[in-house]
């Protein structure tokens, strides 16, 4: 009765985007947390900007940038032979761009709250900055990563304006669950919309409860 395609595609997209954001956003957040650079406020503002534009509008501009008429889009076509728009890759890129603030901002806050003390302790034990980052900063920022991950993942699932614009709503390729629900609402198939929404909510709720339960374990803090 319900096509599993959109759900599957949605999970794939959200997981991939969250993973890419972890890889891209973590160093950026770390740099922002540590730098003394004058341009820091500018970069911070830039990372928050994708939030300000409505998703559809952002999608509109991404369409302009990614179109084969634009230098970037043209380059992509030359390199890969396909257009960036209407492809899963394009969706991923657009979503990464759009969800970036949700990864960077919470991580930056967490990193700053760690302070210099553990970093110095690690350096005194000959841990290189990268080593320190992997073995000290990341574990100490567990809660921050959780928040950033949940916000990014959930937002990518729910996100839909950008995806709709850039993706072209191609079944099994760019037709995510949010679009499917939207269509049901638009075409007055409210019963279908309710079912899909309930399913999405129940599923997300279960995942979130599991994630938060695991996180709660073993983090007893004694003054």
């Amino acid at each position: 009765m319900i096509d599993p395609g959109p759900l599957w595609l949605t999970l794939k997209l959200a997981s991939l985007v969250t993973m890419i954001l972890l890889v891209v956003g973590t160093p950026l957040a770390w740099w922002l947390a540590m730098t003394q650079s004058r341009i820091k406020p500018v970069i911070e503002a830039l990372t928050a900007l994708p939030l300000v534009l409505p998703p559809t509008v952002l999608g509109f501009y991404l369409l302009l940038v990614m179109s084969p008429n634009s230098p970037l889009g043209a380059l992509w076509v030359t390199m890969t032979g396909t257009t960036l728009t209407f492809s899963f890759t394009g969706l991923v890129i657009a979503s990464v761009f759009y969800s970036l603030p949700f990864m960077v901002q919470p991580l930056q806050t967490t990193f700053q709250s760690i302070g210099k003390a553990p970093l110095e302790a690690a350096a005194s034990l000959r841990a290189s900055p990268f080593d320190t980052f992997m073995t000290v900063v990341i574990p100490l920022s567990r809660r921050g990563f959780l928040t950033a991950g949940v916000l990014s993942f959930a937002h990518t699932i729910g996100e839909f304006g950008v995806v709709l614009m850039v993706g072209g709503n191609i079944p099994d390729q760019t037709r995510v669950i949010s679009i499917a629900i939207y269509e049901h609402v638009e075409t007055l198939n409210y019963a279908q919309a309710h079912i899909l929404s309930a399913g999405l909510i129940a599923f997300s709720f279960a995942v979130l409860v599991a994630v938060y339960s695991i996180n709660g374990k073993g983090s007893v803090r004694v003054g």
Binding site: L63, S67, T85, F86, G168, E183, T187
Partner: protein
């Protein structure tokens, strides 16, 4: 002229909202009343109306939703009529489409993407699909089709060059402020069922004098002239 100018809130399908702006000026000149336009997708407007939105008139992008409303307490059933009928056009910014060669160009498949509106959501999309069916191209072009959420986005996909070709609304091509970069091919009306857009008076506007006046105006000669210049056809009453 009515004694006191009033305002009428018109919920309008996005594809017609430009035309409505043009109508507004004439309406004001003629009656002194003014229009507050609320545009949106027809489905969204429907959901809002059945949940108590303070709209007086709905100018839908199809006939389905006004008909649905007509059977409910939210609209004045007998007021429904077709205010405009849309036409499709094949258009591109990358290829030179000519009226004479349009059909072959579409059939050749010498492009990678064809944008249509989402058939589930937009009547223009449904018409586009029917057109392809009637040309026996559906199967051949299956992999090349991308869908815009509505006809506005479909235009966007083509105009930005992301889609090579698109089946868009003729009304989008004929706007005077937007000279067409290349010519297009007007799809013969025979290739798809008509795209009727219906208007209906809503319960909220039933007592509104201006709403009545607007419906009358919309059915009148002035309005019809404006609608036709915007790329729609009108059926004679």
């Amino acid at each position: 002229r009515a004694a006191s100018p009033q305002s009428v809130t018109v919920a309008v399908a996005t594809n017609f909202s430009d035309t409505l702006n043009a109508l507004d000026l004439a309406f004001q000149r003629e009656t002194g009343h003014s229009i507050t336009a609320v545009s949106g997708s027809t489905g969204q407007l429907y959901a809002q109306i059945v949940n108590g939105a303070p709209f007086d008139i709905l100018l839908a992008a199809d006939q389905l939703r006004p008909s649905r409303l007509a059977t409910t307490q939210f609209a004045v059933g007998e007021s429904q009529f077709t205010y405009a009928s849309g036409a499709l056009a094949l258009w591109s910014t990358r290829l030179e489409i000519t009226p004479s060669r349009g059909r072959d160009q579409l059939a050749s498949g010498a492009f990678s993407t064809l944008a249509i509106a989402n058939p589930a959501l937009a009547p223009y999309g449904l018409a586009a699909l029917e057109t392809l069916d009637n040309l026996n191209l559906t199967e051949a072009l299956e992999g090349s089709i991308v869908r815009g959420e509505n006809i506005g986005q479909t235009y966007l996909l083509v105009s930005t060059g992301n889609a090579d070709l698109g089946l868009i609304a003729l009304s989008q091509l004929v706007r005077e402020d937007r000279p067409t970069q290349n010519s297009g091919w007007r799809i013969p009306a025979t290739l798809h069922s008509p795209i009727h857009q219906d208007a209906i008076l809503l319960r909220h506007g039933a007592e509104n004098e201006a709403a009545q006046a607007f419906l009358t105006f919309l059915n009148g000669e002035t309005a019809r002239g404006i609608i036709v210049t915007h790329g729609y056809t009108v059926t004679q009453p």
